[in-house]
Symmetry: D2
Subunit: 458 residues, 4 copies
Amino acid sequence: MTATIDTSLPTVSAHIYPRGGLDVLSRTEVARLRDASAGGMHDLLRRCALAVLTSGSASDDPRAAQELYPDFEIEVLQQDRGVRIDLRHAPAMAFVDGEIIRGVAELLFAVVRDLAYTAIELTESRDLESSDGITDAVFGLLRNARILQPSDPNLVVCWGGHSINRDEYIYTKQVGYELGLRGLDICTGCGPGAMKGPMKGATIAHAKQRKRRMRYIGITEPGIIAAESPNPIVNHLVIMPDIEKRLEAFVRVGHGIIVFPGGVGTAEEILYLLGILLREENAHVPFPLILTGPTASAPYFEQIDRFLRLTLGEAATSRYEIIVGDCAAVAKRMAAGVRKVREHRIAQKDSFFFNWSMDIPLAFQRPFVPSHEAMAALDLHHGRKPHELAADLRRAFSGIVAGNVKEDGMRRIEQFGPFEIHGDADMMQSLDALLRAFVEQRRMKISGEYKPCYRVVA
Amino acid sequence: MTATIDTSLPTVSAHIYPRGGLDVLSRTEVARLRDASAGGMHDLLRRCALAVLTSGSASDDPRAAQELYPDFEIEVLQQDRGVRIDLRHAPAMAFVDGEIIRGVAELLFAVVRDLAYTAIELTESRDLESSDGITDAVFGLLRNARILQPSDPNLVVCWGGHSINRDEYIYTKQVGYELGLRGLDICTGCGPGAMKGPMKGATIAHAKQRKRRMRYIGITEPGIIAAESPNPIVNHLVIMPDIEKRLEAFVRVGHGIIVFPGGVGTAEEILYLLGILLREENAHVPFPLILTGPTASAPYFEQIDRFLRLTLGEAATSRYEIIVGDCAAVAKRMAAGVRKVREHRIAQKDSFFFNWSMDIPLAFQRPFVPSHEAMAALDLHHGRKPHELAADLRRAFSGIVAGNVKEDGMRRIEQFGPFEIHGDADMMQSLDALLRAFVEQRRMKISGEYKPCYRVVA
Amino acid sequence: MTATIDTSLPTVSAHIYPRGGLDVLSRTEVARLRDASAGGMHDLLRRCALAVLTSGSASDDPRAAQELYPDFEIEVLQQDRGVRIDLRHAPAMAFVDGEIIRGVAELLFAVVRDLAYTAIELTESRDLESSDGITDAVFGLLRNARILQPSDPNLVVCWGGHSINRDEYIYTKQVGYELGLRGLDICTGCGPGAMKGPMKGATIAHAKQRKRRMRYIGITEPGIIAAESPNPIVNHLVIMPDIEKRLEAFVRVGHGIIVFPGGVGTAEEILYLLGILLREENAHVPFPLILTGPTASAPYFEQIDRFLRLTLGEAATSRYEIIVGDCAAVAKRMAAGVRKVREHRIAQKDSFFFNWSMDIPLAFQRPFVPSHEAMAALDLHHGRKPHELAADLRRAFSGIVAGNVKEDGMRRIEQFGPFEIHGDADMMQSLDALLRAFVEQRRMKISGEYKPCYRVVA
Amino acid sequence: MTATIDTSLPTVSAHIYPRGGLDVLSRTEVARLRDASAGGMHDLLRRCALAVLTSGSASDDPRAAQELYPDFEIEVLQQDRGVRIDLRHAPAMAFVDGEIIRGVAELLFAVVRDLAYTAIELTESRDLESSDGITDAVFGLLRNARILQPSDPNLVVCWGGHSINRDEYIYTKQVGYELGLRGLDICTGCGPGAMKGPMKGATIAHAKQRKRRMRYIGITEPGIIAAESPNPIVNHLVIMPDIEKRLEAFVRVGHGIIVFPGGVGTAEEILYLLGILLREENAHVPFPLILTGPTASAPYFEQIDRFLRLTLGEAATSRYEIIVGDCAAVAKRMAAGVRKVREHRIAQKDSFFFNWSMDIPLAFQRPFVPSHEAMAALDLHHGRKPHELAADLRRAFSGIVAGNVKEDGMRRIEQFGPFEIHGDADMMQSLDALLRAFVEQRRMKISGEYKPCYRVVA
């Protein structure tokens, strides 16, 4: 005689009828949507939907939701001339007395909407190889997600780690609060930690300021959403097709960026952004960039700062500002910066909702695959143009991270030995020191002792 | 010494910045729009724009506006990342103290929007040869024009002549008033006469009922708009690419149709609609159709009725109702009919905003070009299925009209003699009588004596 | 055998549940409202309600409605903790398929609301003898009617006759249209003629300008409403307790006044207004006043102008402007004038919605009863201060009108002979000429030959 | 030589211009408001204003704000025809970059509005001695505060202690969250602890349900507001003139009440409510009452329950329900209870926004002053009608609390010895046990050892 213990969580099955955006579709569009969601994009859809349906849960383990709701299934059906979404064994936490929570339903429609747009619109018929073509795709996806609205510039992007310490988290809330008091909206990567704190703080401030139309935009991509389930405050969710388009989306829709403490991902983001801002083409484009954290995080930013000065030169510091332990000052500076952005856009007759002027070259738009060859081709020497060096540094970073923690990269290192990187010694040492500090500060998850996956070739 | 007398009307030149729909465009879209409006569609754009800018003027002479504003010019420009419309020597009546009237500006943007959609979207890449493909194009254009909104069925299409007599005009206003009192919105061909009266009446009724969101939709096409300038009440204007798509648009978005007295065009419309409604495929689709006019118009409808009974059989009368001289009864019946449409859509889970269930075969979607061959190929004999006969009768009508009043058709008749039409004598006599009555009642403009442009072949 | 022919018009009986204003009442308030409406104010309520329920009917005969609906009855009931209005044998024209038209219901609630306010609030406990007290009562009634809203100054009061000729009526519509194009709202005495035309024209213009919140305010009083039933465009109705408070309401809420051709009432209004504007206390208060009509009305205004110059002196002309036959010019001047009012209010930190600065002395607030003594006490000689003379002229006017056409006044004349008026001969002749012109132009209804009811005493 | 150290906090001085409610005042009203605020009500105004300006601060010490901002001053001025509020040395935390936070300004206007209403409207001219008169005053004040709106019943009153433990606080948030998910709004006493938690939880839930118009109503009174500064979520603040009117306000506007763990005040509130609910007159009036807390609070509610059963009899338990450790169950029961309230109001044609049916006798509306005589007059014996006993128990409670912790009461005890209370022994022991438990659980602040301030007289 055997006994089975049912460890599964409560679930609900339901039919959901979309509204707003997915509600006025043609017969053909519904059919295409149904086919796409039953075909190639189905696994992705299932995973993203589950992330959204467990939005706000405590866990940040990417696989947790998948294991907790093994029988979850989603299907997009053609209901005569409309769309119906069928959920089976969906997490009960997304429902109240049998009815799906409206905000969760909206995020669910956003998932279907964006994956369908990617699957149906961003196909071979579209130019996705040129820089303009990619920017157009980013624009199309964001407009389809109704993110692009002609209103005054007020969108602050907040970057930072998803597993920061409590002090740092509280600080991000306070900064969000100060931003919200000044009428600014928040856009983040939509996970926990530094991506949730600013939204939470802004919510309270917006309520106190009786702001009616507040935007808490979460921009994510399929590889991240499962690990970083949108926090419950997000009221606009966009799923970009890949990391590069996600980064471009941040830069195009944000009117300024605040960087909180974070790990390697955050460092990569800083380098991506500086690589763009330091281009001559963008020298005249105002774009407030503030690095900030609580007083205790001062050393973290000092180290980042040193690294940036050493590698990109003193000039790089003109495009960012470090403020430590002063939330109100951060918000004031950002508000002032956004006002300058507004003036610039008006002067240039540029749109408020999409930063067309910012030049983002194809090199930043194409994904970097860190093979041994690609890593060996990097050119990390003094004397290069800062923006080119920044681009290569970002790639080096990306590769090293992959070699240390990503399954794919680790396997390559085992097989072919450490990457060989050509670079000046001081630069490489500084990079190394930065990575070790991340490990020590537990900003980078390493099993066992940290062992560099590269060696420097003079 | 010569003197020139300046007979031109006051004009204004201005830059207009679109909003709502044309305001969130990508760089590429703006460029395409600029190119299209400077290229093939420019003449059309100029003509339609002029019609809109003289909206509400007394004249209904198609060429009047063109002659009164010979120097009028319109240009669509790429204003950095947005669109700008430049008007030169535009009719001053569209402006107040140098600023364009907001409603006129909206109609102007509608013109640019729809012509651009047709020029850019409805190109060879799209399937415009199949029935489904054409319906999809109609859907796409209407959605792009923001006509398709998920709200309760309440849209009544009103057809009828643009040059009706005063009695008839007042009656159309009264019917519009009674419709408006019952919360119904109005859709017409957007010109004067029977296309304006119902909107005017509904406006007063909507105000009395404190209705907030009222729709006065005008659906037109490039060949008509110049002659039938949108009346000033129209708050949604759509320009379909051709007559057949315009007719399909009426049938797809309307929840019922009221036909007021009119001329040959109106008769054609009735035959088009009955040709569709009498199909077996549509037997179960509810669609209220009411023919109505003031008491003095009774003979007009009796004649139409006789003609329909004779040609399409008694069964045809099941799909329409004639009410004479009773506005309130018309509105009550229509409201009841629309309620049935609502129930049917709910039962079928069909959308409220687009009548997908109505089967419209390709034959009704393709334009009929009345050559001598095409006319000789018509088969107007008793015994055919009513809907097939209705289709051929519509074509016969269309051809005869062309032969009598359209430049193209008249030339053909001069060159090749009258059309030869194969049909049963009684049917042809009835058709002839109808046409003669139109001439007598001044519903059809004929210069000189009316002379049939066809002869019957047994 | 006798037969009775039912000549009565169709009626409806219904229960109406108020909303907006009358919907949040205390138990005590409901009881007081019920008592008041069943008690002293009942006849008044019945008469005013009937006027509102026949709003928009063709007739302008004050007694017509009373005779056509002899069985009409209205009752205000205490429905547990709310108010219910019961209508019996009410005019069917106020209903659609058994339901009252929403706008008519709103006007009906306005009637109950204002009569109740007057009956319950404006009682002896209130100071209605001092100038400040009366102004406070006017303020209280208007606020209770939700007329006072903090929005930008844009309210133009239009005065003029209710039985003007067709030319003049069309002109009032055109002026309303031009005002509406410039975003101005309309306030009138809410009857037909010059009180309806401007609202009608503005409606079309507001629709073209896509104005969302438009106000068509009708200010009336119990003695007038029956004769001048609110036209169907009025969306805010206020019933002031008497003529003087009604005049004060116009001056306090309007940001400018346009006077169209009219009869004796209009002349009285002009004198009332000039009597106020010519006071030294008001010398600095901007208040645009335009007298206008179609070209054919030029002689009318010339005569008025002559009369004003002669009696009040050339200085009086500084407070008004006469524009003939140019609607757009009228609207432009008014818009400019209203802008000045706005600036003045801002500079003085005065409210936009109530003209506190305008000094209106008690003499203008108290009703003038034209007894022989009162008429003999008038002092119509050159040399007096213009504003005092204006006040006495208004009274003279009022008395003469009463002596000619009001039952009460005519009886007095029959009994005691003509009024004796002390005044300078030229002034009296001019007044006489004005009155004769009104009779000739049919602006004043006289049965039989016109015979002055006064004689001048040197 | 002396040195002064400035320990004061940063302050701001500013002019505030009210809007919404205080913006359309008559000249007289402004003058009266200015006079009242400069006269008798000034101290009160200053204290309440300070509480509102420090809303959201950590401290819950009533005197803290007074000491921290010793120079704070508020003045209401007549700004020509409007009101201006001048703040001097106001807490800087209420401002952002020199501008007052909009929500704080609204609370400030609410303070002025309600104190002025009390001072100006609730004067001797008003009947404040009869039960109906008092209820009318409560109604008047709430309507003036715009709390009474005709919308569906959904207002849940939450009572409970302001200094509960963390477990209990989190539980109140979770209950608020579950209430919010079901569309319910929250009304509390507007301080911290159990008065803040439910609002905070509901805020998140309302955001997730995309609720647009959410009400977080705080009802307070002058003696409490300083100690229990409105939490920052409150978006409607009402200051009732005294504790009894505040309690009546809760009962009249709430559609159900949830009681969380609390101290003596909460116990008093329960007895007040049961005293009303157990009246025969209210037997048919549905009113959901749920006592709830986390699992660890079970003993607390068991003791309360025992006390109520012993004193008021088993019948009393029919009017409340105890649910422990199940937030969702609490919300479901409350939602079901509110639905019943809705049905009852519809059936009775009673208003949704004010519970007129609930009979509250004068004895509950008049303040109880716990003198030795009054305490000796209490009649705490078995056999009395439950609602009468409840009323006397509430008074006993009130007196004992005063004798233990209120300055006034303690002085009386010192002077005249302990109160003598006439009651059955078991009842008094139970009451005593309850009080001791409050002391042990730190729900009642006692300096030194707890010593009963009363003795039982058989």
